[in-house]
């Protein structure tokens, strides 16, 4: 290094010039709650439990998603379909309780791949923030897709 380089001051001024230029550049910030960044095709967000064409829940509570989950975020309780409930559930067995702990979930998408009934997809938005830990355990009320009839109305 020659004397001019050993002085460091020119290098410092150069760096300060660069940072000063950035003051007038376009800001990259996206103001999140009001605006959202565009998601990519394979974005994995909040889970949703799907319905079939007739509006019946696809899930048969086989437990493969819970088994494949590396974070052990999924728990479910299965129940048998009663007479008269054929319009609600597609299979003879269904999930009476289906809970995902969003604090444990790592959004890896393995449940999606394990599901034989194509019942669970991670196609939702960003999981919103909350104040209490218990509010992050999402039950069927938050996970199941709205039925066709409700959607149509």
């Amino acid at each position: 290094m020659n004397f001019w380089e050993r002085l460091y001051l020119p290098a410092i001024f150069q760096g300060m010039g660069i940072t000063f230029k950035h003051m007038f550049k376009k800001k990259e910030t996206i103001f999140y709650p009001e605006f959202e960044r565009e998601f990519s095709e394979n974005w994995r967000g909040m889970h949703s439990l799907k319905r079939d064409e007739e509006g019946r829940e696809r899930c048969t509570a086989c437990g493969l998603c819970a088994l494949s989950c590396p974070a052990e975020a999924i728990t479910m309780i299965a129940a048998e379909r009663q007479k008269g409930e054929e319009t609600l559930y597609r299979e003879e067995k269904y999930a009476a309780v289906y809970e995902i702990n969003m604090l444990r979930c790592i959004f890896c998408g393995l449940c999606e791949e394990a599901c034989p009934k194509e019942a669970i997809y991670l196609d939702g938005p960003i999981v919103p923030a909350d104040y209490l830990r218990k509010d992050f355990i999402y039950g069927k009320d938050k996970l199941v897709e709205e039925s066709m009839k409700v959607q149509q109305n």
Binding site: I12, G15, M16, I18, T19, F20, H22, M23, K25, K26, K27, E28, T29
Partner: protein, 345 residues
């Protein structure tokens, strides 16, 4: 000691106290805003229009946080540390001349709290006292990281006080006085000291970065090595006091640099403005100019912080002892030679 004099001084002290508090509080916002701008972000913008109330929100948060005093710490010293840091950073602004004399109701009012004839040395002393707050706080925390931070603060401040003092000596050889008021008066118009002492100013600037513990010299609180440095154990309002002291020190250092080297309240064409606006508003414009200069220096502090990376500790010591001190001494010698030559001619 007439009554009007006491009221006048008391009012001045109150105003300067409040102004420096406000500026220090808004420095925290400015720091985050500028950091945002330099990194293509916008900084805090939710509390109030453009984030205007962010300092208030931060202050309230600090105030309501739980105060934790570690069990094995020495309690009195643990509280004394941040109090002392805050106290000493307020003291310095007493000798800064904020403007020319103002005429209110036919009275000449000096815009300086007190003009002691060793003004510069007083500021120097107050600055050197500031390190006690950090040292006492760090030691009383009874924590290795805090202690290391305190020790670093002490050695750093002592190392950089020497070149700072030497750079001031070269300035004093020009001004022939230690009084801040006279130094400010000598720089009337555009006759600023920085044109006669550029090297001295550079040394003073670098040392004031080190004395205020700002990046690139923020080793006493460097996160990567020492967690939080001397304030690792602090929380709540005591932590806030340390932060506030840092910003107040920055304000004071900016004020001193503007007064010593950048003409204080002087600006080109001030005589014309003073005649135009009369003896009350003319000096107030000068005061505004001084505050603008201070803002410019505070911006410089922040700009450097978000540009230059932190020094390693041996680099810091090398810079202080092997570069700045010889440079400052050379500056004194050259200044002396030039003054003698000019006197002889």
């Amino acid at each position: 000691m007439e009554l009007a004099f006491i009221i006048e001084k008391f009012g001045l002290i109150l105003v300067i106290f409040l102004v420096s508090l406000t500026i220090a509080a808004y420095s925290t916002l400015a720091e985050r805003k500028i950091a945002g701008f330099l990194q293509d972000r916008v900084g805090p913008n939710r509390a109030g229009p453009g984030g205007m109330f962010q300092p208030l929100a931060d202050g309230l948060k600090m105030f309501f946080k739980e105060e934790i005093i570690p069990t094995d710490s020495s309690k009195a010293l643990f509280i004394l540390g941040p109090s002392l840091a805050l106290f000493t950073s307020f003291l310095g602004s007493a000798v800064i001349p904020w403007g020319q004399d103002v005429e209110i109701f036919g009275r000449q009012v000096s815009l300086q709290i007190t003009d002691i004839n060793v003004g510069i040395l007083y500021i120097f002393g107050v600055v050197s006292l500031g390190v006690y707050g950090i040292m006492i706080g760090g030691w009383a925390s009874n924590n290795k990281f805090s202690l290391m931070g305190a020790v670093r603060a002490a050695s750093q401040s002592i190392s950089y006080e020497i070149p700072m003092g030497l750079s001031i000596i070269a300035l004093l050889m020009l001004t022939n006085t230690l009084s801040m008021k006279e130094i400010a008066e000598q720089q009337h118009g555009f006759n600023w000291n920085v044109f006669y002492q550029p090297v001295g100013f550079l040394i003073f600037l670098i040392c004031s970065f080190a004395e205020t513990n700002r990046t690139p010299f923020d080793l006493p609180e460097c996160e990567t090595e020492l967690v939080g440095g001397y304030h690792t154990e602090y929380s709540g309002f005591k932590m806030g006091a340390f932060m506030f002291a840092e910003y107040l020190n920055m304000f004071l250092a900016s004020a001193v640099m503007s007064t010593l080297y950048f003409g204080g309240y002087n600006y080109p064409g001030m005589d014309f403005v003073n005649e135009l606006l009369g003896p009350l508003f003319g000096p107030l414009i000068g005061m505004g100019v001084l505050i603008l200069k201070i803002f410019a220096f505070i911006f410089l502090f922040m700009w450097v912080r978000w540009t230059v990376p932190r020094f390693r500790y041996d680099q810091l010591m090398n810079l202080g002892w092997k570069i700045l001190i010889p440079l400052a001494i050379a500056n004194i010698v050259i200044t002396g030679i030039v003054i003698t030559l000019i006197d002889k001619l």
